[in-house]
Amino acid sequence: MAEPLLSVKDLKVSFRTEDGLVRAVDGISFTVHEGEVVGIVGESGSGKSVTMMSVMRLITDPNVIYEGSIVYKGRDLMGVSRDAMREVRGEEIAMIFQDPMTSLNPVYTVGWQIEEQLNEHYDLQKGQARRRAIELLTQVGIPKPEQRIDDYPHQFSGGMRQRVMIALALSCNPDLLIADEPTTALDVTIQAQILELIKNLKRDFGSAVALITHDLGVVADIADRILVMYAGRIVEEGNKEQIFYDPQHPYTWGLLGSIARLDRPRARRLTAIAGQPPSLINRPQGCSFRPRCPQAFDRCRREDPQLTAKVGDGHLDACHLSVEDKRARRDATINPELAETA
């Protein structure tokens, strides 16, 4: 197997606060290969955004503490200088953010904002940056780009602004595109369009994509591999088929059970995962998910489960249940009505 594009090893990100050390990301390791789409799924506060912001070294909080390594193309980004990091940002790794309404500077035209990034990374002749910006706007499907390039962000709709953000992110042909909940702030029809766009652009530009979302439905279509995060750790990792058809961790079951599905025999109430995520300051002993897990037993209280491969190639999970137990129990969470009829 080729050297991965990005390899995160035992990354820990914590924040010093008055109440104590908040361990937002608590020892996670994963890789992203060239051209691969990795979905990072988890609820709010599970550390998905912090992980990817750390890859970009975009966390400006002075109270942040990093441990571990983030190796990108053989270089540990934790150790590179600020200036070297600036060259990586935007040119090699680009990022799309959640809220397109606030992610663009309101006082500059979209063209100015795209050209700024191009001029920062390339030596361009006068007019070249503008031509490239128009080309990018065309590629992301903005009608009449020659006119829209001189418009301000507030003159675009939410979906169009997210297209502009994507054009901005792709302007320097990055090898890795980090999309932090790119569709969360958009309405459903626009969500589908944006996901389709990311999928197509990934093909055209050949970028790897790390797609952060709290919605498994979003990654179902485009992710090659999925990481499920809970309380700052990865609790399950596998390819799309493994996660959707053979989920191992009860938290993943909960996420799958809470997707609204139209292909089920009768309408039921969406199941929610009961309880709240644990405090990241005083992590409960044993498994972090235990207080919310209906399957928990004695061992979960005593022993912290490690992320290991139990079922097959590349499918890792952190749960003490045996594979047989999991397979027998999970339908009750994911598809209650199927479990009842069985």
Binding site: M56, T60, R86, T102, N105, E116
Partner: protein, 322 residues
């Protein structure tokens, strides 16, 4: 643009009209004020008072008096002060350049220094220098300008005047720019500094707060994610949007000061500006001068707020008319 100017001009005329009527009415509705009596001097006879009253048209009905006063002010431009018995318009046109010299010089100082201090404090946030700068700014805001001015005078005019640092400072007063530019400048250095201290402190604090607030905006994060330098993020993205509040405050403060708000500084440094003129006319209940200075002040405040609106639209495309 044209409609904007026309609308503003109509608004200006309306504001001036309402203000002049209000000032006029307040003056006549206030009990115990009889300008004729005041002008007649000590223990006047009823006859003298009646004569003065007739001479100045004070025995006519209120609307007629108002129209007469406006006619003398704007049409024949020969409105006579009740107090000094001189024409009002030349008094204002000779006081205005003094005020303009004082306020515009101070404004340049306070804009430059408050941006520097605000930026420095925001960048040095988390170090000990930020609170030090902010406490200095707070002191600048709190120091009364008349006290500061007197202290400055004490050192530059008397106590340390012989000291080489202050020996160049001319005596209090104003030298017109056209007469002697160097003397004009020398005479205004300390008034400029004194007047700007309050505003440097205030604007620096406002700017720092805005810079820190904007720092948390999503588009600042986007700017960093684009790989542009911290310096550019600060100046082109953060400062640019943070200046919106700064500019709107600046326009209004400038209007108020040019309109006569720099009274204390003018008095302390012996500058015969509009503030002083307003003050003497108010204490002498000299209606023609009061009216003229109020209209003068309102004119500049309205112009300033129109300029602020233009600048605002230039700074923030979201408020531009489509």
């Amino acid at each position: 643009m044209l409609t904007f100017v026309v609308r503003r001009l109509v608004g200006l005329v309306a504001v001036l009209l309402v203000l002049s009527v209000l000032v006029f009415l307040i003056f006549f509705a206030t009990p115990g004020i009889d300008p004729a009596r005041r002008m007649a001097g000590r223990n006047p006879s009823q006859q003298t008072i009646a004569q003065i009253r007739h001479e100045f048209g004070l025995d006519r009905s209120l609307p007629v008096q108002y129209v007469l006063m406006m006619k003398h002010l704007f049409v024949t431009r020969d409105l006579i002060s009740y107090g000094s018995q001189t024409k009002v318009i030349p008094e204002i046109t000779s006081a205005a350049p003094v005020t303009f010299s004082l306020v515009i010089g101070a404004a340049v100082l306070w804009v430059v220094f408050s941006i520097l201090v605000g930026l420095a404090a925001a960048v040095l946030r988390g170090t000990v220098l930020d609170p030090i700068l902010m406490i200095l700014a707070l002191i600048g805001i709190s120091v009364p300008v008349f006290w500061l001015g007197e202290v400055v005078n004490l050192f530059t005019q008397s106590r340390w005047h012989g000291f080489f640092l202050f020996s160049w400072v001319p005596p209090l007063g104003y030298t017109p720019l056209t007469q002697n530019p160097l003397k004009w400048f020398e005479g205004l250095v300390f008034p400029w500094l004194t007047l700007s201290v309050l505003y440097v402190g205030f604007y620096a604090r406002v700017l720092r707060a805005n810079l820190i607030e904007t720092e948390n905006e999503d588009y600042i994060r986007t700017a960093r994610a684009k790989g542009i330098s911290e310096r550019r993020v600060l100046l082109r993205h953060n400062l640019r949007t943070s200046m919106i509040t700064f500019v709107s405050l600046f326009g209004l403060d400038l209007g108020v000061l040019i309109g006569g708000g720099a009274l204390l500084t003018e008095v302390v440094f012996g500058l015969p500006g509009v503030g002083q003129l307003t003050y003497t006319s108010l204490s002498g209940l000299d209606l023609p001068v009061i009216l003229a200075t109020v209209i003068y002040g309102a004119f500049f405040i309205t112009i300033a707020s129109a300029l602020v609106d233009l600048l605002y639209a230039w700074l923030d495309p979201r408020v531009r008319p489509a």
